[in-house]
């Protein structure tokens, strides 16, 4: 039964990926560009317009992927989807170990309604491997408490994807050392000696040291990742005050369905905590550490986006599952209370069914649109007149920064050969100009935001001639 379920989930996802052209997001495409530079023995060039945050392990991963050449994009998407399935599997194992198989199964179902997570997987975003590493670290810890090395290795790898894991590593290391300070607690898994604790210290310290050293070596600035991320967050208007960030927590924790996941999830977690107490320790610790890092990110002036609350939102989905099925493992008065919560949760879910349907429709529409836009960019770059011009015409002008890594990766072009029109202070006089056909929509053309943005990012440039077009893109050139 279990095998059948996982087979169906995997098959459905693989079919979806095959049906739609892959469309990694901006950061992932840049990781592919940097990975290829690394594979060729060069240092990745981070000094690009609207630079995404470099993530050491992700760049190493894409360096390996670049062996696949032009197919690397599809391989990356397939692997990302595979990691999404292992993430679900990890959550199942984690919840089954601490709560029950039924709650675990329902938690997976709730996660499957999270179109935001699915989108991360389909866009090959590093959040999926990041979550995977953390969830499996928890699974290993739950299977053999105070294991030490294996969870720390996984958390360390996660710390090379996102610095939030540094805090988790530190907390886990402190947790291992609790028995030394408080021997009377009789924690599961026995004591960890001072010597062993000291020997584990490098696993905690190494990820930040590696990250900072790489920044120093590659960008000549040990804090490059932090500073550039903060600068881009400011440029994109993603910085928020602490109060604003706190106000956004329920929406971000809820993911694609804030009402059910945040409201029912929180109630479910409160009930689980009340009934299961210490068994919920690890999950609550995960959620709280996620909240803590999110608030630190806000205070640090970095991007306040939902992706930085993924850990608490994952735990909230488990809370929803407990709210629905927790009563099955209870007796007496608690069981009656839990049944009441389950009924109320079902009512909320029932009321929100149209919202679920619309989210799924929205996800499908956006996925189709983005996928066809990416397919369009690939096909127009290989269209005969464009391919010929692409060999001799420079620079290649992308409408915004978003298309830059795609063009660079697809045509294997260097940094200076592809320029975002939005980064120019005046219209280019020569080159190859890529525009979205939607910009030429006669009604959109009169939008005042066009001139506010910069007219040369919207209109075909003066003296440039038409080369080719498809449904999504149109190309002009003056060589």
């Amino acid at each position: 039964m279990q095998l059948a379920f996982w087979t169906v989930v995997t098959a459905a996802l693989v079919a979806f990926v095959i049906a739609r052209r892959p469309y990694p997001n901006y950061d992932s495409y840049y990781a592919l560009v940097w990975g290829r530079e690394i594979a060729r023995g060069h240092l990745p060039d981070y000094a690009v317009f609207r630079t995404p945050t470099p993530h050491p392990l992700f760049n190493a991963y894409t360096a390996v992927l670049s062996i696949a050449g032009a197919r690397a994009v599809r391989v990356m998407t397939m692997l990302s989807v595979g990691m999404y399935v292992t993430l679900l599997l990890g959550v199942y194992r984690m919840v089954r170990l601490k709560i029950s198989p039924v709650v675990a199964f329902v938690a997976v179902l709730v996660l499957l309604t999270r179109t935001d997570l699915l989108a991360f997987a389909l866009r090959s975003m590093l959040d999926i491997p990041f979550l995977n590493l953390i969830v499996w670290a928890v699974v290993l810890e739950l299977k053999r408490p105070r294991r030490g090395v294996a969870p720390l290795v996984l958390l360390g790898l996660a710390g090379l994807l996102r610095p939030e894991a540094w805090i988790l590593s530190g907390l886990y290391w402190l947790w291992l050392g609790v028995a030394i300070v408080r021997p009377r607690l009789h924690l599961p898994g026995g004591d960890v000696s001072r010597a062993r604790l000291a020997s584990l210290m490098p696993l905690v310290a190494l990820p930040p040291i590696i990250w900072i050293s790489l920044d120093w070596w590659i960008a000549k600035d040990p804090l490059y990742s932090f500073v550039s991320t903060r600068d881009v967050a400011g440029a994109l208007g993603r910085q928020k005050s602490l109060l604003e960030s706190i106000a956004l927590i329920p929406r971000f924790v809820g993911g694609s369905e804030p009402v059910v996941n945040a409201l029912v999830g929180t109630l479910g977690l409160v009930l689980a905590l009340y009934l299961l107490r210490s068994r919920m320790f690890m999950l609550v610790a995960l959620a709280l550490s996620g909240l803590l890092t999110y608030l630190l990110i806000a205070v640090g002036g970095l991007s306040v986006i939902e992706r930085y609350l993924l850990l608490p939102s994952l735990v909230a989905c488990i809370g929803v599952a407990f709210a629905l099925t927790g009563w099955m493992q209870l007796t007496g008065q608690p069981r009656r209370a839990a049944i009441g919560l389950a009924v109320a949760s079902l009512v909320v879910i029932g009321v929100r069914l149209p919202a679920y349907a619309s989210t799924i429709r929205e996800f499908n529409g956006e996925s189709r649109q983005t996928s066809s836009r990416f397919a369009g960019i690939e096909s127009i770059l290989t269209a005969a007149p464009v391919a010929a011009d692409a060999r001799r015409c420079r620079p290649f002008l992308a409408p915004t920064h978003e298309a830059v890594p795609v063009i660079r990766y697809q045509l294997d072009l260097a940094k200076d050969e592809v320029v975002a029109s939005t980064q120019l202070s005046r219209a280019a006089t020569h080159g190859l100009q890529l525009l979205q056909t939607g910009y030429l929509d006669p009604i959109s053309l009169t939008s005042i935001s066009h001139v506010q943005r910069k007219p040369w990012t919207v209109f075909p440039l003066t003296n440039f001639t038409y080369r080719a077009e498809n449904d999504a893109w149109i190309v002009y050139a003056k060589c």
Partner: protein, 327 residues
């Protein structure tokens, strides 16, 4: 007795005056309303004809109004006097962003299909279809031909009025043609990229004279009685140009935000503002605004004049309305 009659008369007069004042106050309140775009004016309260999808363009025949829906690629027909849809919709092509009634036919420029089709309004059948591989948008009739502006390659193509087929090589302008209109001497083209108006000599299709600067983001154009009217989306103004000399007439007239279309007859020039959601009336002789704008709907994109009134299509309300001006 006379005294009593006089008192009664005064009471009656006072009552009537109070009633009139009350009516006036109500009318004033209605006209002093403000829409979501922040435009103050008289809210349109008449019936609305619903057109599902995304209605964007209009064309008026003597007794009917045709409405193009960009989503379904169809045109619906509305009876001018009854303000009701009549008959079934006509499939015209992909994204028909503009319609025009000329030479006894309804012409539709299909932006997505790169075609311009002509429909016989009586049979509602497509009678000709020409390929204009340039994202056709602007349509004008004059000098025995239809003139089509193409946005993607910056061309103006001449179509034979009888056969609907392209005639000769298109005129290439280094720009982005938006509105297009035929006057007595030239075909006038608005270049939205370079913010100017160009003139094409109809006999040979060559550009003549210097481009005329008209502000920023000029879009719609109309010509009547020797005056060229051009709307300006960026500055929300209407500019007038002398057709014979190419000189600007007077100062630009300010209208609500993002004027998108204009229609002119002997009595007025009517301008719809997309962001302002308003219909403005301008004096045909002075170009000045006459009276407050009519808050006509959400995102109006086109205007057409019939014997019954001024028809406006509201692209976000999915409807068309007929405003009947007084005087």
């Amino acid at each position: 007795m006379d005294r009593l009659r006089e008192v009664l008369n005064r009471v009656a007069l006072l009552t009537a005056a109070l009633a009139l004042a009350a009516c006036g106050a109500t009318a004033a309140a209605a006209s002093a309303t403000t829409n979501r775009a922040g435009v103050s004016g008289a809210r349109f309260v008449g019936p609305r004809v619903r057109i599902a999808g995304r209605p964007v363009a209009l064309a008026a025949t003597p007794d009917r109004v045709w409405v193009a829906d960009a989503t379904s690629g169809t045109a619906s027909v509305i009876d001018d006097s009854r303000r009701e849809r009549v008959g079934s919709v006509v499939k015209v092509g992909g994204s028909p962003y503009s319609l025009r009634f000329a030479f006894g036919r309804i012409w539709a420029a299909n932006f997505r299909d790169d075609t311009v089709v002509a429909v016989d309004p009586s049979t509602r059948k497509i009678v000709s279809s020409a390929r204009v591989p340039d994202r056709p948008f602007g349509l004008a009739d004059g000098f025995g031909a239809m003139w089509v502006g193409g946005i993607a390659r910056g061309t103006v193509t001449r179509l034979d009025a009888a056969t609907g087929a392209a005639v000769g090589e298109p005129t290439v302008i280094d720009g982005v043609p938006h509105g297009i209109a035929a006057g007595a001497l030239y075909v006038w083209v608005v270049d939205i990229r370079d913010n100017e108006v160009l003139r094409i000599r109809p006999s040979d299709g060559h550009l003549v004279g210097k481009p005329i600067p008209v502000g920023v983001l000029p879009d719609a154009i109309a010509i009547r009685n020797g005056v060229v009217w051009v709307t300006n989306a960026r500055f929300s103004t209407v500019v007038r140009i002398d057709e014979a000399t190419g000189r600007r007439l007077g100062r630009p007239t300010r209208v609500p935000a993002r004027p998108q279309a204009i229609a002119v007859d002997e009595t007025a020039a009517w301008v719809v503002s997309l962001d302002g959601g308003a219909l403005s009336r301008l004096d045909p002789l002075t170009g000045r605004v006459t009276g407050p704008p009519v808050l006509i709907g959400t995102s109006p994109t086109d205007v057409a004049l019939t014997g019954g009134g001024v028809w406006v299509v509201n692209s976000k309300d999915d409807d068309v309305v007929r405003y009947a001006p007084r005087g």
